[in-house]
């Protein structure tokens, strides 16, 4: 894989192991930003993503077509920020750290704001912050919301995205 990892394998993984599915939500993590994840955007993986979703627009898999449209290289599709954010050994580490049971997690909402495009060959820095941790129906459903800011190698903001997950009963 073309990505490099700068991931908090020390305290956060330990906390994830301790709190995973513990039933208690650790709200002290609200507002906490985690160490930045730096990901090289791999052209091969962009092509594979295009194949997986049945993409027909060549700007998503043909570098020449993308350059002809004014992009640096193959364009990442609008939802690709989440894929970059998953380029870690355990994408559920933060959810586990707040006490959610990773085996019961469902993704309930996802939104993006867009600024500069993400293209193959870019180096993207993602900083995720847990913004909400809450329960509904007397604890039957436990939610976590996190916001991620993704900047490129030119220090330009590319996208900011918000993800909501729930631990189903």
């Amino acid at each position: 894989m073309g990505w490099r990892l700068y991931w908090p394998v020390d305290t956060d993984t330990l906390r994830a192991e301790k709190n995973n599915g513990s039933g208690m939500l650790d709200k002290t993590l609200i507002g906490k930003s985690f160490p930045a994840l730096v990901v090289d955007v791999d052209k091969w993986q962009l092509k594979f993503f295009a194949k997986a979703v049945g993409e027909e627009n060549p700007i998503y898999f043909d570098e020449e077509a993308a350059i002809a449209e004014g992009y640096r290289s193959i364009l990442a599709p609008p939802t690709y920020g989440v894929t970059l954010g998953c380029a870690v050994p355990d994408p559920f580490a933060r959810a586990k750290a707040v006490g959610l049971d990773a085996s019961k997690i469902l993704h309930t909402a996802q939104s993006f704001e867009y600024f500069e495009p993400i293209c193959g060959g870019d180096k993207i820095t993602l900083v995720a912050t847990i913004t909400k941790v809450f329960e509904k129906r007397k604890g039957a459903f436990k939610f976590m919301v996190e916001e991620t800011v993704a900047t490129n190698q030119l220090d330009q903001l590319t996208t900011r995205f918000r993800q909501t997950v729930v631990e189903r009963a």
């Binding site: 993986q45 594979f48 993503f49 997986a52 599709p77 939802t79 996802q110």
Partner: protein
Amino acid sequence: MKDIFFDQIAIGDQLPSLTKPPISRTTLAYFCGASNDHNPVHVDSDFARASGADDVFVHGMLNMAYMGQLLTGWVSPRAILSFGVKFAAIVYVGDTITCRGEVVDKADSEGVYTLKLKLSAVDQNGELKLSGDALVKVSAPA
């Protein structure tokens, strides 16, 4: 893709709908690798059943990627300012997803012309699977 001009769009206009092929296990396997979401509930039937599901189910982000294709098939990717969805119900392997969009608002602010879109995705039985919205830029009145 042809330019979309602000004055040629009316509230209530529909985007051309997008129906994807039935989602196969092969597609789920590809998307597992392509998306970095390696959760086995999406690709391993044994694991999915052991965890209480009827069978493997579709990554929410695959359905959102399909919704993104609805948008980028209509406007340039650069024109999308924001895009969000709620995952209303689980989509199972074999389901066929149709994505739809409708213009629900128009705004002109200091020469930036935008449309607000309401988005929905349904399965082959018409059951709502995704709902969402997007804000897109369009060309100034011709």
